[in-house]
């Protein structure tokens, strides 16, 4: 699936200045991304979200990004002005966040928000934009797009809200989608349904996807390739289909400590962390 890299990340570091000193959230992450689905997996504080945010230049103001290389096609993402960023964010790289409750504007109708996202990047009249937005809501399998178009975010369910988010992020037709725990706030069946919608759209439109999640099993059943992060480092890279061949003790530990439906009530294996894993 991957040919020439869309995104090249070399030795990415994200450092935060906090009252308690410097915190290195991401420490030397490198990867190439083609037109494929890459999963980034890790527990809280592993740096997986900060990696995604750094790519889009969304690191908080007290953070500092350094990288030997951070390029998207021939665009150097490390040195963009705010004006140049506006041509990239949303239009070419876009991000789906975890919880639609917080990432949709509560005082604007869903339709207006999708139109805003579209017209930010495409010069079309209001009628055409509306038409596009309704089409997009249909594409994310919303049964009554007209009603949802005129609704406010609090009037729709979590699964519906996340579909709206996907519609909004995909309507400018970006080449790369970064999805940060896009379905973690949803029930399992809804979660899988939303993933199926994302799956189809990403496939049909030939987009690349970075799927960030804490759920190793879920990610490996969805992506082509998985990076496992621990304390800011990538400790292992795996073909998603070869999850059972994981070699790093952290990856293995993560898999083993999951409760299984095997009728065994014995104690779960505990993940024994070793200091050396954090060295990278």
């Amino acid at each position: 699936m991957s040919n020439e890299p869309l995104l090249t990340v070399k030795n990415l570091e994200v450092t935060f200045n906090t009252p308690k000193g410097e915190v290195n959230a991401v420490r030397g992450v490198s990867f190439n991304l083609g037109r494929e689905r890459l999963g980034i997996v890790g527990e809280s504080g592993s740096g997986k979200s900060q990696t995604g945010r750094a790519i889009l230049g969304l690191t908080a103001a007290n953070g500092r990004i350094t990288a030997d290389q951070l390029t998207f096609h021939d665009v150097d993402l490390a040195n963009l002005t705010p004006k140049q960023w506006r041509k990239v964010r949303g239009a070419r790289i876009s991000m789906i966040m975890q919880d639609p409750k917080y990432s949709l504007n509560p005082v604007m109708t869903i339709g207006d928000q999708i139109i805003e996202a579209y017209r930010e990047h495409h010069k079309v009249n209001a009628k055409e934009a509306r038409h596009r937005a309704i089409d997009m809501l249909e594409a994310v399998k919303i049964r009554d797009p007209e009603r949802v178009f005129n609704s406010y975010p609090h009037e729709v369910s979590g699964g519906m809200g996340q579909r709206v988010m996907i519609a909004m992020m995909l309507i400018p037709d970006p080449e790369l989608i970064i999805a940060d725990e896009p379905t973690s706030a949803l029930d399992v069946t809804v979660q899988l349904q939303v993933m199926a919608i994302l799956d189809d759209l990403v496939r049909d439109r030939g987009m690349a996807l970075i799927f960030i999640s804490h759920d190793l099993q879920l990610v490996s059943s969805f992506c082509d390739r998985v990076l496992v992060m621990y304390q800011g480092h990538v400790v292992e890279e795996l073909a998603a289909s070869a999850l059972h061949e994981a070699k790093h003790p952290y990856t293995k530990g993560l898999l083993n400590c999951l409760p299984k439906m095997d009728g065994d009530h014995g104690d779960l294996p505990i993940l024994e962390r070793e200091a050396s894993w954090a060295e990278g």
Partner: protein, 254 residues
């Protein structure tokens, strides 16, 4: 230990629990599984007296529960909530959080009880005078469990006790809960959206949908995937990860 029959509950006009029957023997562990809005947490909240509008029979330790819960009830049954960030007072030290129930119930000897409760959940004394924000999520959930245990209850009502935690921390907390049940002879009702967690922790399981128990199974039946109701089958398949074909077979249950 717990016998619930024909339990119905309402939130205003919404009928949220419909003829729920549950029976848990002493030292048993019963699991309630379902998605949001299925009523699984409402069952626990009704038992513990947080729901006003209900009908039916709830027998705890052979005693019928009425509209109000007395102090004796809370010495017998304690609840552990999902979110260890929301359930501990942010401006009280762990010591104060644990001492409060001891004082309310007039048990005395709070000093020794606090030390013992912390010890039971695997936290050493250095945690005693810290504040919740100085603790990790897993440590906070241990404090929440210690707060429940300090009254020496026989029953713990566990509402998604590990769903806010990382999987490695979840494993530690689940092991802790299993050990406490063994050592202290506790009875559990555990609510979770995660079929695997409940299958691991519980002997008997009920699957809920829209306020109703749609299916009951033992852990063994669940292990073999022997589920009859289409809703429980769907839930079982969904636990297996992403599979495009499986998703297409899903039906909406709203």
């Amino acid at each position: 230990m717990i016998e619930i029959s024909k339990l119905n509950a309402w939130f205003d006009d919404h009928h949220v629990l419909k003829d729920v029957d549950i029976s848990v023997p002493a030292n048993g562990s019963f699991g309630l599984v379902g998605e949001s809005g299925s009523g699984k947490s409402t069952v626990l909240r009704t038992i513990t007296g947080l729901v006003d509008d209900w009908e039916g029979n709830i027998l705890v330790n052979s005693k019928e529960l009425g509209a109000k819960r007395d102090k004796a009830f809370y010495r017998l049954a304690q609840m552990v909530f999902q979110d260890p960030f929301g359930s501990l007072h942010p401006r009280h030290t762990i010591d104060r959080i644990l001492t409060e129930p001891v004082n309310i119930h007039g048990l005395g000897n709070s000093d020794a009880r606090v030390v013992e409760a912390l010890n039971q959940v695997g936290l050493d004394n250095s945690f005693r005078f810290r504040y919740p924000h100085q603790l990790s999520g897993g440590q906070r959930q241990r404090v929440a469990i210690a707060r429940a245990l300090i009254l020496e209850p026989k029953i713990l009502l566990l509402d998604e006790p590990t769903s806010a935690l990382d999987v490695s921390i979840q494993a530690e907390v689940l092991n802790l809960l299993s050990r406490l049940r063994r050592e202290l002879g506790l009875t559990y009702i555990m609510v979770s959206h995660d079929l695997a967690v409940v299958a691991h922790m519980c002997d008997d399981i009920a699957i809920m949908n829209h306020g109703r128990i749609v299916e009951r199974a033992t852990a063994e039946q669940l292990a073999e995937g022997k589920l009859e109701h289409p809703y429980s089958q769907q839930l079982y398949k969904a636990a297996g990860g992403y599979d495009r074909a499986v998703v297409d077979s899903f039906v909406d249950w709203d």
